[in-house]
Amino acid sequence: MIVDRLMRVLTLADYNTRVVMFGTVMLGIAGGVIGVFLLLRRRALLADAVSHAALPGVAGAFLLILALGGNPRSLPLLMLGALVSGLLGMGCVLFITRFTRISQDAALGIVLSVFFGFGVALLGIIQRTRGAPAAGLNSFIYGRTASMIRADAMLIGIAALVVVLVSMVLFKEFRLFTFDPDFAAGDGWPVQRLDTLLMSLVVAVTVIGLQAVGIILVIAILVVPPAAARFWTDRLDHMVLISAGVGAIGAYLGTGVSALAPRLPAGAVIVGAHGSVFVVSMLIGSARGVLRELFAHRSLARTTVKQNLLRALFECEEAERGASVESQWRYLTTARGWTERELARALRLLLRDGSIYRLPAGAWQLTEPGRVRAARVTRNHRLWEVYLLEHAETAPAHVDRGADFIEHVLGEELVAELEEALPRFGKVVPASVHVIGTGRGAT
């Protein structure tokens, strides 16, 4: 039964569902695309002020239409009211920040709360007005998709198309001025006008999104998808695409759920869906996700352990200390101050990637590929030591620590530069600058 209904919703079997779904998905795409630039311009809260400032406009338009004897539930007229007072709110913020010494965050707080408070007061008046069909107005605060009709969805679709087209055509210009407005202005670009255009698109998306998502939550469709997208990529064009995708998917899922449970406010469900995608992105995002960073950290730690042991084994062979099981074990535990457990773990890591094997007597031996790796690691370490001694004026007692820290993150280009700086060593492994084999030298 429930599965049946779910399928009907998700496959868009009903006409009404199709209309609403089209509207919200288009809204998700528009918000996702323009939100990227809004976020990078660091103006996200300005959009929040705009949406809150729209409420007195909606209520005012309602009262005005009522007084003039029109149909006070005409959505385009209410949106026009929202647009006017939203822009007025934005103008107030810009005016206050520019011409007084009140900082932008305070200006945002003032405008947002005062406009919203005024709007709530107007709503109160409307509810006491006899004969005013005020029921629909509350939906502007929390959002309601069920009342969306074909014309509304088309309006959202057109707005989304405009947003996407402008962002494509002016992609380069938007990138320039959102990244470095001073450079852009010095380079002769009309930064003020580009900024105005960007903010106008944001206001447009905010206003058309009011009905579906509500005044309080509409900021989410502009901010959450781009923030989620950032975890997946370091490229702006990809970020825009992913953000649009996140916006669309969140809207699709949210609208689907709210169609099944009509009592849930649609705006909240859509934003909840976006929020879920955000959390998942934050955890597993391929560019900056938390797990990826953890994994990178862990894998560096492993590489470090393996390289340290490889070098210890190499130096052990060099000093011919590996003759007996006991002397080798003693050398390896003292070489880096490892406990037996740490050493055993490090040995397992090397065993797994085939760098070492165990002689029947119990001593550890480097395999051929293992010895090649060990020689390379040791060579890099000693080149660094020499380099630090000769070029960075590091005290001899500190070079080992310094080399230890750097060598594990050496890229091939750096090694090449190192070889260039120290040509006398050619490709051989230089002798250690310390006395090898005493245990102390390699600590």
């Binding site: 380069k172 990138r175 470095d180 001073d182 450079f183 010095g186 380079d187 490229r235």
Partner: protein, 264 residues
């Protein structure tokens, strides 16, 4: 355009790469720059020095029209800045942008070519090659596709320079390019200044380190809210001028300015 101006002989002011008359800049009515007059000849590398809060960055920003002027005129090669934008290149302070922005080194450098490319058009392969060449010029060709947050401070400074180089300007304004950079970057910047000088360009550099003034610059602007002294380094870089720029508060002027800031 700029070359025409340069070759017109002896026309007063026209031979100046930068000509400033009576420039005053104020934030909230408190003056930051006061009655600045400057006439800088072309083809010099000019240092701009002065204590913190002397208005060094503000001078550059005022020339580039990034902050409003309370009064005064600015001309580049004898014409108002607005008409000469294409002759000007700019290296802002490194701290002025968000280095977590999703963009790589090559794309950032290509920004310097945007005005050549023009509105709406994409950055084609020809321009990508030019940006890559500029990256090579600052010794960063192999890091072209690195995301900018993964670059060191010195490398970030170098791609800012590369972006200005591809602007192919006649007059450059660089805001503290030497601040907090490594030795390799410092060498790169010096080499680039040298190259620009040889190519007959004019470069203005906001600078902090007085010890290197004689090595880097051949012209010096000593600034402390107003121009204390400006001219060839050999002439103006004197203990007397240094004392006037850095030493001792200019009590009367300071107090007048403070009072203006308070009362309005």
């Amino acid at each position: 355009m700029g070359l025409e101006q340069m070759s017109s002989p002896e026309a007063d002011g026209n031979r100046c790469s930068l000509h400033i008359r009576d420039l005053t800049v104020a934030y909230h009515r408190k003056p930051v720059l006061w009655d600045v007059d400057l006439d800088v000849p072309p083809s010099v590398v000019a240092g701009i020095v002065g204590p913190n809060g002397a208005g060094k960055s503000t001078l550059i920003k005022a020339v580039l029209d990034l902050v409003p002027h309370a009064s005064g005129t600015v001309e580049i090669f004898g014409k108002p800045y607005r008409k000469q934008r294409r002759l000007v290149g700019y290296v802002p302070q490194r701290e002025s942008v968000d280095w977590n922005y999703p963009i790589n080194a090559l794309e950032l450098v290509a920004m310097g070519l945007y005005r050549t490319i023009g509105w709406f058009r994409r950055v084609g392969p020809v321009y990508r090659r030019r940006a890559l060449q500029a990256l090579a010029d600052v010794g960063m060709a192999d890091l072209a596709h690195r995301q900018i947050s993964q670059l060191s401070g010195g490398q970030q400074q170098r791609i800012f320079l590369a972006r200005a180089l591809v602007q192919d300007a006649e007059v450059y304004f660089m805001d503290e390019p030497f601040s907090g950079v490594d030795a390799a970057t410092e060498k790169t910047i010096i080499a680039i200044l040298q190259r620009l000088r040889e190519a007959g360009k004019t470069v203005f550099v906001v600078h902090h380190d007085l010890e290197t003034v004689r090595d880097y610059f051949d012209y010096l602007i000593m600034l402390n809210m107003r121009v204390v002294s400006a001219g060839p380094v050999a002439e103006v870089f004197t203990p007397e001028n240094l004392r006037r720029t850095y030493g001792g508060r200019l009590t009367l002027l300071d107090r007048a300015v403070d009072a203006m800031g308070r009362t309005r």
